[in-house]
């Protein structure tokens, strides 16, 4: 999409319906890039390991990685489930806290000044460094992992939320202030929807950090979860297992990310960023 094309908000589309092969071809035209790219990556990986460009203790072969998957399918599924659970809970809590922080900061300058250093501090310190504290306070259950996920994920939510809530057209706020609604209503009906596009892009960052957070939390002290798998694999230099776990982690991040992308379609269909998809003229 060039500048010029993208500037043409109203673009002509050809009707997509047609016989099967045509639809398949249309699908291929839309999606060939990532598919070809993925295959290329796989090929390079395979060649690099087959020709011993990299030692297997650094990067395992695709075959070895696949074997690690299949040989430990049930085990990996169990660990994935644990990490997924921690990630999702942590992410949800992070959303709530992040939005709450953004809201109080938008509404009060004093709170903003007070909270900013706190959340910055919480964001900046490496979670692994304060791990012992979590273990001491929260034990070895899921709590410390969820805490790390929350600590890592809430910051982007808060920052994006704050910036989004601030960007509301001042004239719209003037208008709604003459409608006499309470703060909550104004927030729910005006500020929040206006902030959604920005907030959702903060959530995308947060989703990936929640995954990392849960895994890092597992590094700190866990007997299960993908972090446990990774750390142990690292200790044994079991790179096949390491890669298997890393791939699962990434998939977890991709899935969360995709969920937000889909949510965008429903939550902000009106937004400029999505508009070219919708305002189309019909070809006669």
């Amino acid at each position: 999409m060039s500048v010029q094309e993208s500037a043409t908000v109203s673009v002509a589309v050809h009707e997509a319906r047609g016989p099967e092969p045509r639809r398949l071809r249309a699908w291929w035209v839309r999606n060939w890039h990532p598919i070809v790219f993925a295959l290329a990556v796989l090929l390079v990986w395979w060649v690099a390991t087959a020709l011993n460009w990299v030692a297997p203790y650094i990067i395992p072969s695709p075959a070895a990685t696949w074997a690690a998957f299949t040989d430990n399918a049930a085990y990996l599924a169990q660990q994935t489930w644990v990490t997924t659970y921690e990630t999702v809970i942590g992410f949800l809590i992070a959303i709530v806290i992040g939005i709450a922080v953004a809201v109080v900061m938008v509404y009060s300058k004093g709170v903003e000044q007070t909270l900013y250093p706190v959340i910055l501090f919480a964001q900046v310190i490496p979670k692994i460094a304060i791990a012992p504290l979590f273990v001491v306070w929260l034990g070895f259950g899921m709590a410390p992992k969820i805490l790390v996920a929350v600590l890592m994920a809430f910051f982007p939510v808060a920052i994006a939320g704050l910036s989004g809530l601030r960007s509301v057209d001042p004239e719209i706020l003037q208008l709604t202030s003459t409608m006499g609604a309470g703060k909550l209503k104004t927030f729910l009906k005006v500020r929040l929807p206006a902030a959604l596009p920005e907030l959702l892009s903060g959530l995308k960052v947060a989703a990936t950090l929640a995954v990392t957070g849960a895994v890092v939390g597992e590094f700190v002290g866990a007997n299960e979860g993908l972090g446990y798998v990774i750390l142990q694999a690292n200790g044994n230099l079991d790179t096949a297992m390491l890669f298997a776990a890393l791939i699962i982690m990434s998939l977890l991040g991709v899935v969360l990310f995709a969920i937000i992308q889909i949510a965008e379609r429903f939550l902000i269909p009106w937004h400029a960023s999505r508009r070219d998809v919708r305002a189309v003229t019909v070809q006669a």
């Binding site: 203790y57 040989d71 590094f219 002290g221 200790g235």
Partner: protein
């Protein structure tokens, strides 16, 4: 999960559930615990043992201190340092009495003896006991700390750096990284042990919190006794002991590595003073030597006596 291995065998009634946190993920050194559970040794002592992986001796020591687990299996220098800092625990018997600390190099690296380390780069891990005592080792072998370049790396990085030739060797526990490196590289690994240079101090042993010791001395006694028996049995039947770890955790090193690790461990179970005694029997002179070394290395204050760190009332006596 995989690392949980409760002693399901034995009579159901009357068993006390006990959680033991290891110093690290399970590897060959821990075979006796699994073997002891499988053989019913712990059950015979009235203990239903749950083995839990740890993530470093300090975390294990503090988890014991906070009462999050009943007992810990941890590296003595770390335990002592934690006691110095106020963690309310005590050692109740050190099993690895010769330090496994060693400089590990490839046999074909041309480094035959400690003196050959001069001018080499060695991977270390900042803050752990082998690294902190490394200058003393160098001193013992007639080198100065400036003769060797130390590169700080995390656990996985150390091995990778050595395999890829970016460092000439690494410092660690001979019975831990060594077999892994040998297995991954297919090359023989040479150990320049601290103990061979006359530098020795205690390594892994059992720890309990002060409150457990005060409230339930019988339990402590039973655990120490059972552990001692399990180590003895495992030393006698290394293959069976390692086999007991099978399937406990899909990520454990392969059995050959495990066996290698355990056999390396067997060598460490006693000192000259405790030669022939049951595993876990500690000699006061060894404790004193350990305190002296660690104080000199700055790991502990040096103000405490053996009693500050070690409760001798539980270790087997013969």
């Amino acid at each position: 999960t995989g690392s949980d291995a409760s002693g399901g065998s034995g009579d159901e009634g009357g068993l006390t559930p006990v959680t033991l946190m290891l110093n690290w993920y399970p590897y060959g050194e821990h075979a006796p615990f699994y073997y002891g559970v499988e053989e019913g040794i712990f059950a015979d002592h009235g203990i239903d043992l749950t083995i839990q992986a740890g993530q470093g001796s300090t975390k294990t020591a503090q988890a014991v201190g906070q009462g999050q687990v009943d007992f810990g299996w941890a590296d003595t220098p770390a335990v002592l340092a934690n006691i110095d800092k106020g963690v309310a625990i005590k050692s109740v018997g050190v099993f690895l009495q010769t330090t496994p600390s060693a400089v590990q190099v490839f046999a074909d690296s041309g480094i035959e003896e400690p003196a050959d380390l001069k001018g080499k780069t060695i991977a270390v891990s900042a803050g752990d006991a082998p690294t902190t005592t490394f200058p003393m080792f160098l001193d013992a072998v007639g080198l100065s700390p400036d003769d060797v370049t130390q590169q700080n790396l995390d656990a996985a990085g150390k091995i990778a750096a050595m395999l890829s030739g970016q460092v000439d060797g690494l410092i660690g526990f001979a019975h831990d990284q060594g077999p892994t490196i040998a297995a991954k590289s297919g090359k023989e690994v040479r150990y320049l042990r601290y103990s061979d240079a006359g530098l020795s101090f205690f390594s892994n042993g059992l720890v309990a919190s002060d409150s457990t010791i005060a409230d339930d001395p019988e339990l402590v006694k039973a655990l120490v006794a059972a552990t001692s028996e399990a180590f003895a049995a495992a030393a006698e039947h290394p293959e069976d002991a390692v086999k007991a770890m099978d399937g406990k955790d899909p990520q454990m090193p392969e059995s050959a590595v495990l066996l290698d690790q355990w056999q390396e461990t067997i060598k460490l179970l006693s000192t000259d003073a405790t030669e022939g005694s049951a595993p876990g029997v500690n000699a006061t002179e060894d404790w004193e030597a350990t305190l002296e070394v660690l104080a000199e290395a700055g790991l502990i204050s040096g103000d405490g006596t053996v009693d500050t760190y070690f409760d001798a009332s539980f270790a087997p006596t013969e």
